[in-house]
């Protein structure tokens, strides 16, 4: 038990440090070619046709957008792939580019990517610089707790000052905790969610908080199965949209049509169940707002 | 000339051997220095004079043999060794004044930290000693601001401040410009007159003749001759001593 803990902790320490080191590299070359770190960018949904499209996504978000040795994997990837095929045909070549949160607008404005599908919450500040299509998923900020944890029952319980919450440094979720629903809580902010997850396992924190989609992605991972549960609170609305260059209304309409088709023919539900379902996460099918 | 030892000798070395790697630097050294005696050690470069001098307060540990100071065997390390060193004054060729402290602070440091004297008391005796070696007016300066001769006199005052039982000098005038040699020798001569036990490595033949009771001549790590200055200079017995003297005196 003790040894297990120590090993687990060491693994996360090593991983977290490597992740930070990788961020450093991105900074070095202006984040320009995050995807080219391992040589050529990853090519899942590679049709071999003439049409090619570059999509920015997360490379490190389990269940949503993750780069694995077998290729790209996650709900965002599946959605992006579906949209690309709808627009450019089944044999489209998708080139994946890493889109860290702070880089997403820049990637679009510079034309480095054609679209961004990367847990990208639609909001007005962002719309000053870019346009959105979608949303393709309506996420909410939520809490992930240990499966046997009973201290928190309702959102009211979050006012308790002894509550230890964990989130990522500077993230919108962390700010919501401080400014909004749990200003008194003891908030721990780490560089990544992996550190929060070990904290949750080690009982150093009571709950991890961020978008339920992200939490579901972690909780759906093999090693965490059945250990955690989502509280299913609705602490904020996070409609995930597809980011595109400002003024590309034709592309926006095409993407919206693709999303509607994906929902209508059941593929959306299939993707959702595969990548995010195992954690018991439920979400309604999305309604297009960005027209 | 012989000075009889009523009590234990001030310095006594028995069967002392010292190696630097394969180099046998001190070979079966045996001698005694009685209280109040001034011994001058002569010998060609590399003969082991400095090593012997440094062995006496264990700045250089020996490989075999025993050294006694004031009847006590040299302790190995720690408090006892520090206490012994406090009683043995040492003056170096390169002065070694503490570069970051003023002259008077150099002199006061060990009385304050080792003898635990009170500050006013330590300062007063420091100033007296500086007066005695003729540099009281330099007391607030830093070592680098003094001439070589002044620095060496300050170093002697620093050693004397501990009221040592014996003073060791390792070529105290070799690093000095010629015009400064005499002022240092004068201080040493006065010290000898006052009855201090002194062990002096030097090439100053004048000092040896004037102030020494005894000359030890070293060559190749051995004490080759051990006699009075008169006898040594007028009637050297060994070839090596004759050779050494002929080189020195033709200068």
């Amino acid at each position: 038990m003790r040894i297990g803990r120590v090993l687990r902790t060491s693994a996360v320490v090593a991983a977290a440090s490597l992740a930070l080191a990788a961020c450093g590299d991105d900074g070095g070359n202006g984040g320009e070619a995050g995807g080219e770190e391992g040589g050529v960018a990853e090519k899942s949904c590679e049709g071999g046709g003439d049409a090619s499209v570059t999509i920015g996504t997360k490379f490190d978000q389990p269940g949503l957008g993750q780069k694995t040795p077998e290729g790209m994997d996650g709900f965002d990837i599946a959605v992006a792939c579906y949209i690309a095929k709808q627009i450019h045909g089944d044999d489209v070549n998708v080139e994946w580019k890493e889109a860290p949160s702070a880089e997403r607008e820049n990637l679009l404005e510079r034309g480095d990517v054609d679209m961004v599908v990367a847990t990208y919450t639609i909001n007005d500040e962002r719309k000053q610089k870019i346009d959105f299509a979608g949303p393709y998923l309506l996420a909410h900020q939520d809490l992930l707790v240990r499966a046997d944890y009973e201290e928190i029952k309702s959102e009211e319980d979050l006012k308790d000052a002894s509550l230890k919450l964990c989130s990522v440094t500077g993230s919108t979720s962390a700010q919501n905790v401080k400014d909004d629903f749990a200003p008194n809580a003891d908030l721990v902010e780490y560089g990544g969610y992996s550190e929060c997850m070990t904290g949750l396992q080690n009982e150093a924190v009571d709950a991890v908080t961020t978008d339920n989609s992200i939490l579901a992605g972690f909780a759906s991972a093999e090693q965490y199965k059945d250990k955690f549960k989502l509280m299913n609170f609705n602490l904020s609305d996070e409609p995930y949209g597809v980011g595109i260059k400002k003024g590309e209304t034709e592309l926006r309409d095409q993407i919206n049509a693709a999303i509607e088709k994906m929902v209508a023919d059941g593929d959306w539900q299939k993707f959702f169940d595969t990548h995010l379902g195992p954690s018991g996460f439920k979400a309604d099918t999305p309604t297009i707002t960005e027209k | 000339m012989t000075v009889e030892t009523s009590t234990a000798a001030m310095i006594k070395a028995s069967e002392v051997n010292k190696f630097f790697g394969d180099l046998h630097v001190l070979k079966d050294i045996n001698f005694e220095v009685p209280r109040g005696q001034v011994v001058v050690v002569l010998g060609p470069s590399g003969s082991g004079k400095s090593t012997l001098c440094r062995a006496i307060n264990r700045l250089e540990p020996v490989n075999s043999g025993v050294i006694h100071v004031d009847g006590k065997e040299l302790p190995k390390e720690g408090k006892a060794l520090a206490a012994l060193r406090a009683d043995v004054g040492m003056v170096f060729q390169s002065f070694n004044l503490f570069a970051h402290k003023t002259i008077v602070d150099n002199v006061m440091l060990a009385p304050l930290k080792v003898r635990k004297q009170k500050k006013p008391e330590a300062r007063e005796s420091a100033m007296q000693l500086l007066e005695r070696v003729g540099i009281a007016d330099q007391s607030e300066k830093y070592p680098a601001q003094l001439s070589g001769g002044q620095q060496q006199r300050a170093a002697i005052a620093r050693a004397l401040a501990m009221r040592p039982k014996v003073m060791m000098f390792d070529e105290p005038t070799s690093a000095l410009d010629p015009e400064m040699v005499q002022e240092v020798l004068d201080v040493m001569t006065n010290l000898a007159k006052e009855g201090m036990t002194m062990f002096v490595v030097t090439h100053e033949m004048g000092f040896a003749r004037r102030a020494a009771h005894r000359v030890m001549f070293m060559a190749d790590g051995e004490i080759v001759e051990d006699t009075t200055p008169d006898d040594f200079f007028t009637n050297p017995k060994s070839d090596r001593a004759k050779d050494f003297l002929s080189k020195i005196l033709t200068h």
């Binding site: 120590v6 902790t9 060491s10 996360v12 320490v13 090593a14 977290a16 440090s17 930070l20 080191a21 949160s101 702070a102 997403r104 607008e105 500040e125 962002r126 610089k129 440094t169 500077g170 919108t172 962390a174 700010q175 003891d186 908030l187 721990v188 902010e189 780490y190 560089g191 550190e195 070990t198 904290g199 080690n202 150093a204 924190v205 | 700045l59 408090k79 520090a82 206490a83 012994l84 060193r85 406090a86 009683d87 043995v88 004054g89 040492m90 170096f92 070694n96 004044l97 503490f98 570069a99 970051h100 440091l109 060990a110 930290k113 080792v114 070592p143 680098a144 601001q145 170093a155 501990m162």
Partner: protein, 226 residues
Amino acid sequence: MVDDLAFLFDKYNVVAAFWVTVQLAVLSAIGSLIWGTALAAMRVSPVPIMRGFAAVYINAVRNTPLTVILVGSSLGLWQTLGVTLAGERATEVNFRLAILGLVAYTSCFVCESLRSGINTVHVGQAEAARALGLNFGQVLGRIVLPQAFRSVIGPLASVLIALTKNTTIAAAISVAEAAALMKTMVENEAHLLFLVTVIFAFGFVFLTLPTGLILGWVSKKVAVKR
């Protein structure tokens, strides 16, 4: 531009965040000087165990990325072993652990600077002190280290500047210093990314430039004449 600046300073407490950075840097600097000096003393001590310990410690810690040390102390010491350093709130605990980690890391560099300083002190200085009956601690503390320190104020200033910049890594373990606020601002004001970067770059220059200048001046003042 000016409007944007006013907006950012109005919405975010940049000064408070830098104040945390200053606290981290100052407390860690004090700790590193003390522990780094102790390590240097061990490295030159006559006791083989101490020399060995210091050598192993320095080579292990100096070659470990600071991120690993900080994340490791938060995840390992706090989460796994329950070390809290008498802090009650998690934020407090992590602040103290950050200082612990920064001290553990920076002291290696303080030690190595000092050791190079010790090497510039003439051996005759220590010999003269030993010959007067000073013990090892006194020789080191009164004679060798004061001279060594004076000769390495320049390199120590570099260590201090590096330390100030290294405090940004504490953001990874929940310390609300400048880099943490920068992350927040980047998250919210991605359209002002350039301005935000400039603010923080300038903030660090503002902290570190005087350190270098003042210590450079001090170094000249106290230099030992030989």
